[in-house]
């Protein structure tokens, strides 16, 4: 007679006889663990995650000491159209000119919207010796 059957008939758990720790597992745990190939309650699965490659670090440019007498470009990425960005930049210009003597602002709308660099704007900023830039507005 099969030893396990004999032990079962006697009311003894084979695991008890074998000296293993006995803990009543729920039916769900048993079926799941068995179906997932686990016999100790622990399951090994494959990692779905895909690692990200970290970007190369680029330092920031040195900051300005003041905004007085500075030329600041306001780059409008034209997110869903240029209007919202233009409204904000216009209001920013009003605010800045009231508080920072000599400050000048130039608002430029990018040719390719929010997805492309605009070499013409960069060229202009270089030619005009721009001191700083505000880029936006997304959302």
């Amino acid at each position: 007679m099969d030893r396990r059957k004999m032990l079962a008939m006697l009311g003894l758990s084979p695991t008890l006889v074998a000296g293993l720790p006995v803990r009543a597992r729920t039916t769900s745990e048993v079926s799941t663990a068995n179906s997932l190939g686990a016999d100790d309650g622990l399951i090994t699965v494959l990692n779905p995650g895909i690692p990200n490659k970290l970007a190369t670090r680029v330092p920031l440019a040195p900051p300005l000491d003041t905004l007085d007498n500075k030329l600041i470009y306001m780059i409008n990425l034209s997110w869903e159209g240029p209007d919202a960005g233009n409204y904000l930049y216009e209001a920013m210009t009003d605010w800045l000119t009231q508080r920072h003597p000599g400050i000048k602002t130039v608002v430029k709308v990018t040719a390719d919207g929010m997805f492309g660099l605009d070499p013409a704007i960069l060229k202009e900023m270089t030619a005009n010796k721009a001191d700083g830039a505000i880029v936006g507005v997304a959302g």
Binding site: E29, T32, A33, L36, G37, G41, L42, I43, T44, V45, L46, N47, P48, G49, I50, P51, N52, K53, L54, A55, T56, R57, V58, P59, L60, A61, P62, P63, L64, D65, L67, I72, W79, E80, G81, D83, A84, Y87, L88, E90, A91, M92, D94, W95, L96, P119, L122, K123, M125, T126, A130, D131, G132, A133, I134, V135, G136, V137, A138, G139
Partner: protein, 310 residues
């Protein structure tokens, strides 16, 4: 061209959070200084946009213009001066450490790898069985995803993992693998989903539903193939709410409800334009002989066309 002048970003808060964290780490590499306005910014009345200038910076709580000036003039921190290749890179372990089922399910949800419905945990045995549905090698890279940065490499095995999690069978895998080349679904501040049209013998062999309730949860192939795309999109896109996924409302079209784009004949009869029928999950169509006229003489591999739209 580098101008080497201070430049700051101004955007709505959700985009700024992405710029400061995910975009900086995996795409930009430059610790750009931002000021944030409320979301949404576009589409507001002029008075609202103008009012933001006298309002607060959503990042620091300071007056917005104070934050702008500080961003342009504050001295650089040590972190803002770092240049060069990163010293540590995220590794990839093929297997997760052994754990209980409960803990693994929590982990999968915490990582954003699921659609928050029950999944089949991807044991090696199940994934190996799924891979029998293709002749491609498990480590073959089918796509490098860099939409939100990170240059993540999608392999055949990763797609098989997503397919197992979605409850698909190996016979679905050729189709799921083809769909995975189009993952992830789109991601922007407006909501996006994908539409898929499937034609050829595989549609019939896998018994896709092209009849009544085509868009409802009434067919296994429709459901599991669509769900595989959903889960694969989240994994390969590493899409997580408020990390790099910022749709204003989101879309249940990205969810896993089975969907089907009806055949031309049925569409004409019911007055539905086939090319503009959106569905929750990649819709499928079956060009069954007799119902749609000609049967495509496609090869055993599914012919798939996808169209991405907002």
């Amino acid at each position: 061209m580098q101008l080497k002048i201070p430049a700051i970003g101004v955007s709505s808060a959700n985009v700024v959070h992405y710029g400061l964290d995910y975009d900086f780490k995996y795409s930009n590499g430059m610790p750009v200084r931002y000021v944030a306005v409320p979301f949404p910014f576009t589409g507001q009345p002029k008075a609202v946009d103008v009012g933001y200038v006298t309002g607060k910076d959503m990042l620091t709580g300071q007056p917005l213009m104070t934050a702008v000036i500080k961003a342009l003039t504050d001295p650089l921190s040590a972190n803002e001066k770092i240049s060069g290749a990163p010293s540590d890179d995220a590794g990839d372990s093929r297997l997760l450490p052994p754990d209980t089922e409960e803990n693994l399910r929590h982990l999968f949800e915490d990582k954003g790898w699921t659609d928050y419905n029950w999944i089949q945990l991807p044991t090696e045995k199940l994934v190996t069985a799924m891979l029998k549905g293709t002749s491609r090698k498990p480590d073959e890279v089918i796509k490098t995803i860099d939409i939100t940065g990170g240059q993540r490499q999608l392999t055949v095995e990763k797609v098989a993992i997503a397919a197992v999690m979605a409850g698909a069978s190996p016979e679905h895998f050729p189709l799921i693998l083809a769909l995975a080349t189009q993952a992830p679904f789109g991601n922007s501040t407006s909501s996006m989903a994908n539409m898929v049209v499937i034609n050829g013998p595989i549609a019939k062999r896998l018994n896709f539903n092209s009849g009544t309730n085509a868009l409802g949860p009434y067919n296994r192939s429709n459901a599991v193939v669509g769900r595989s795309f959903t889960i694969a999109s989240k994994i390969v896109g590493d899409l997580r709410n408020n990390v790099n996924a910022w749709e204003s409302l989101g879309s249940n079209f990205q969810s896993t409800i089975s969907a089907l784009l009806r055949t031309k004949r049925i569409c004409r009869r019911d007055g539905i334009r086939s090319t503009f029928k959106w569905a929750s999950s990649p819709p499928t169509t079956s060009s069954r002989s007799g119902s749609a006229g000609r049967v495509s003489r496609a090869s055993e591999a599914a012919r798939i066309s996808t169209r991405r739209t907002a």
